[in-house]
């Protein structure tokens, strides 16, 4: 695989290449319902790419194609030039996915949630695993949660544990699905800071699916906007200030109009 900008392993001094992601004419349909229509764009190695768009626009489905949870109807996703649909390619490239609801294993403690990947792939001895897990928890200020079960954590803590679990994989590519949804503004800002810090510290490629305009404006290198399955906008966050397209304008700066509410327009 071609070498790109290095990702520094958060647990050792080693460096591994950050991964480039390319979407080539990606389309996806569920029955008659077309979710993604001919999506083409690249994410550069080491970049934070924020993908925005209204609910149901296909953002999460697009993310799932990268990790093989969905198969394209047509087109493909490339990881460093190799087809992401190939299991062997995904096995070679370490991809961490932070799910919207965390997807933590409820029957395991936080510690065991983080240790699972390392144990199952027999990547370290138990003392080393302990060291790595505690280090990942420390990076996210979660040392005191190691013995707790996910049900004992707040929403913000669950998101941070999910990030820590992805970090233990020493990822070359980190995917975040709505990392700030259902969080208060301060916790949202904290998660944004964590995503930016991980990029600065470890140079990992990050793709963030989010509605959060503040997150996009403050940490993204580039922003893409999906609407009705089409990529409507692609550019640096500064281009979000004055979009020319009225739909983009309405999505990015929606005005609350009590006299002529949107839901009434939807009814007609």
């Amino acid at each position: 695989m071609p070498s790109c900008s290095p990702t520094r392993n958060p647990f050792t001094a080693e460096e591994t290449p950050a991964v480039a992601v390319s979407f080539e004419g990606l389309s996806k349909s569920f029955g008659d319902h077309v979710v993604l229509k001919d999506i083409t764009f690249n994410v550069e190695p080491g970049e934070i790419f924020v993908l925005m768009g209204p609910s149901g626009s296909g953002k999460s489905v697009l993310l799932k194609h990268i990790v093989g949870l969905e198969a394209p109807t047509s087109g493909r996703v490339l990881l460093d030039g190799h087809d992401a649909a190939d299991e062997e390619v995904r096995a070679q490239i370490r991809i961490g996915l932070v799910f919207q609801a965390g997807a933590l294993f409820n029957s395991l403690t936080v510690y065991d949630n983080l240790a699972l990947y390392l144990r199952e792939h027999r990547l370290s001895t138990e003392p080393k695993i302990r060291e790595k897990v505690m280090h990942a928890l420390k990076i996210l200020s979660l040392e005191n949660t190691a013995a707790k079960f996910p049900s004992e954590l707040s929403g913000g803590m669950k998101k941070r544990v999910a990030i820590a679990r992805a970090l233990v994989m020493e990822p070359q590519l980190l995917l975040y699905d709505e990392p700030t949804s259902e969080l208060d503004p301060v916790m949202s800002a904290t998660i944004s800071e964590i995503i930016a810090a991980l990029k600065d510290e470890y140079h990992v490629t990050s793709i963030v699916v989010s509605h959060d305009r503040d997150l996009a404006r403050s940490i993204a290198d580039r922003v893409g906007i999906l609407m009705d399955g089409k990529l409507m906008h692609l550019g640096p966050p500064s281009t979000l200030q004055n979009p020319s397209d009225p739909r983009l304008k309405d999505f990015l700066n929606p005005k609350i109009d009590l006299k002529n509410p949107r839901f009434k327009k939807l009814e007609t």
Partner: protein, 250 residues
């Protein structure tokens, strides 16, 4: 036609799950902890209800047999009737039904909930095959525990029958005569047939419940629907398989 397609799809996905699980058999030694945990959940926690039910099934069997047989002086055969019925048929079927209701429903609910709340997706993104850590230890545990449960069901059922035969006035067969009749007409093959049946039923129940749980789509409502489907399918399969396995073993 749609239902037939669904049944064929179900059979296909169950067999695929079996193949995927079997491919990881080599990992069982290092999944000892999961195997032991499943043995505890499947075996130890099911034991009390198996013991209670088999005791009363053995008792009722002896009671009915004693009542029917007293008219033509065949009470001395109660031991062999209870023994054979429990070992060859009632023991394995009853244990399998209990496993379907108690263990199968719990497996379907747990895996369905893991699927709905994306824990299974999380495993896949970590390149950890769900069949390896969620299905294989359960299949191994049921293979290990099912004969144990079936033997306990037989023993407790026989004991229940002996008590009733001894203490119910109109039967009045003492335990020595009861167990002598049981030993005289029952062979090792009869017990083995029952254990083979129990093994097959238990394995199919766990496999089917795992598959239905892992194929759950949607939200919390579908978790309940999956549990119902898993238990109903298991019960039907136990009874259908019972006929064919019995015929094959005769």
């Amino acid at each position: 036609m749609k239902q037939l397609t669904a049944i064929l799809e179900g059979i296909g996905s169950t067999l695929q799950l079996l193949a995927r699980s079997a491919a990881h058999v080599g990992t069982l030694p290092r999944q000892r902890a999961r195997f032991i945990e499943q043995c505890y959940l499947i075996g130890y926690t099911t034991l009390p209800i198996v013991a209670i039910l088999s005791f009363f099934i053995g008792s009722v069997l002896a009671l009915q047999a004693g009542y029917s047989m007293q008219n033509f002086g065949a009470k001395q055969f109660i031991g062999s009737l209870v023994g054979l019925s429990l070992a060859r048929e009632l023991g394995p079927v009853m244990v399998a039904i209990l496993v379907a209701g108690r263990v199968g429903s719990a497996i379907a609910a747990e895996l369905a909930s893991m699927k709905v709340y994306q824990e299974v997706d999380a495993l896949e993104t970590m390149n950890i095959p769900p069949a390896r850590i969620l299905v294989l230890p359960r299949l191994a545990a049921i293979l290990f525990m099912m004969p144990v449960l079936a033997i306990i069901a037989d023993l407790v059922g026989w004991f229940g029958g002996a008590l009733v035969s001894n203490y119910v006035n109109f039967i009045g067969i003492d335990s020595e005569a009861y167990f002598a009749a049981l030993r005289r007409y029952m062979h090792f093959k009869d017990v083995m047939n029952g254990l083979i049946k129990a093994e097959i039923f238990g394995f199919v129940v766990v496999l089917v419940c795992c598959n239905i749980g892992l194929n759950t789509r949607g939200g919390p409502r579908e978790i309940g629907a999956s549990v119902t489907r898993a238990v109903v399918t298991s019960l039907i399969l136990i009874l259908v398989l019972d006929y064919f396995v019995t015929k094959a073993l005769l």
